[in-house]
């Protein structure tokens, strides 16, 4: 009984500790650490076109493996990250990028949150200013029927 509890308590810790090594899907051997880092960044940025909600780094399907191989080959051939991204976008469209680029077609996507934030802040500021004015006028004209007023005056 106590053992079960201990195991249950340690399980999340064990799972967390194991995360950095959970790379069984995309094991690679790039010649340098710099290339390895670029490779890792790239495969996390592309969508697996078959599972669609997973990145190339996390997808177990064989098409994703082929795409990772393509990326590896291009990296080894000296292509820049930009060239690799362009290669995939020109064949699969912007859909393959997890982070949509800022182009005319996606401008509204990027700008809408900012605009909404501005509208929200503007509205909030208006409301707050009106409320502040309300409080001030209340203090200026105390209600004679309010018992608290008397207490405050006596306290001064």
């Amino acid at each position: 009984m106590r053992l079960t509890r201990l195991v249950l308590a340690l399980l999340p810790v064990a799972l967390l500790l194991g995360a950095p090594w959970a790379r069984a899907i995309a094991p690679t051997q790039m010649p340098t650490a710099a290339l390895e880092a670029r490779y890792e960044r790239l495969i996390h940025g592309f969508r697996c076109m078959q599972c669609q909600d997973e990145s190339l780094a996390n997808s177990p399907v064989s098409l994703a493996a082929d795409m990772r191989r393509q990326i590896r080959q291009m990296l080894l051939a000296g292509d820049t990250d930009r060239q690799i991204r362009k290669f995939f976008v020109s064949r699969y469209g912007y859909f393959i990028l997890f982070k949509p680029p800022f182009v005319w077609k996606t401008a509204w996507l990027w700008l809408t949150p900012g605009i909404l934030l501005f509208v929200g802040a503007f509205t909030a500021a208006g409301v707050i200013r009106r409320r502040t004015r309300l409080v001030a006028s209340d203090l200026e004209e105390p209600d004679p029927r309010d018992g608290l007023t008397g207490v405050q005056e006596r306290g001064r």
């Binding site: 076109m49 078959q50 669609q52 064989s62 098409l63 082929d66 795409m67 191989r69 393509q70 080959q73 976008v89 020109s90 064949r91 699969y92 469209g93 859909f95």
Partner: protein, 180 residues
């Protein structure tokens, strides 16, 4: 007084926008290809039937052709197979196959029992050529014009209806079969 209705108007506006988005959302399994209207990838791959010969894009220029990506492991490809044989039988446009991530033995056995609709078949066991064509599942079929431009892409098994309504109208009336 009208100010009271502003939140309601905003809500209706956002709801309408979202409803439009949901209704017009394209099917997620049909990703439009950015290659349409662009030049088909240049390639040179070993022939499936004759390992020492090559199938290349230069042989195909100057003719209309259907570039069909398939594999014996692909169930939908088996589904569309009768239609491919029917298309080949019309002689209107040659079928060029890309045998994708397959083994030569299985592919040859399949073709010899089911019949071969293809004029040429390029062999891509590693799967890297298909990436150049933006392929993300089989079957996928590209219609390429004599200038080598991809005119149309059909995703999924070709049905008789897809042939008569989507592919045939895009071919000129005088389309001829490329010499083999």
């Amino acid at each position: 007084m009208i100010r009271r209705f502003i939140p309601l108007l905003v809500f209706v506006g956002v709801a309408a926008l979202l409803a439009m988005g949901v209704m017009q959302a394209p099917r997620k399994d049909l990703v439009p290809s950015p290659l349409i209207g662009k030049h088909a990838p240049n390639f040179s791959l070993p022939s499936l039937m004759h390992p020492h010969q090559r199938v290349s894009s230069t042989q195909l220029n100057g003719h209309w052709y259907l570039f069909n990506v398939w594999g014996t492991w692909c169930i939908s490809c088996r589904q569309e197979y009768p239609e491919l044989l029917a298309i080949a039988h019309t002689g209107i446009v040659p079928l060029i196959g890309l045998d994708w991530k397959d083994t030569r033995g299985e592919a040859l056995a399949f073709l010899s029992t089911k019949g071969d609709p293809y004029q040429r078949i390029a062999f891509d066991p590693g799967g890297l050529e298909a990436i150049h064509w933006g392929v993300y599942g089989a079957p996928e079929t590209f219609l390429v014009n004599p200038k080598g431009i991809i005119v149309y892409k059909y995703i999924g098994p070709i049905t008789p209806r897809a042939w008569t309504e989507d592919i045939l109208p895009r071919l000129p009336a005088s389309a001829t079969v490329a010499g083999s």
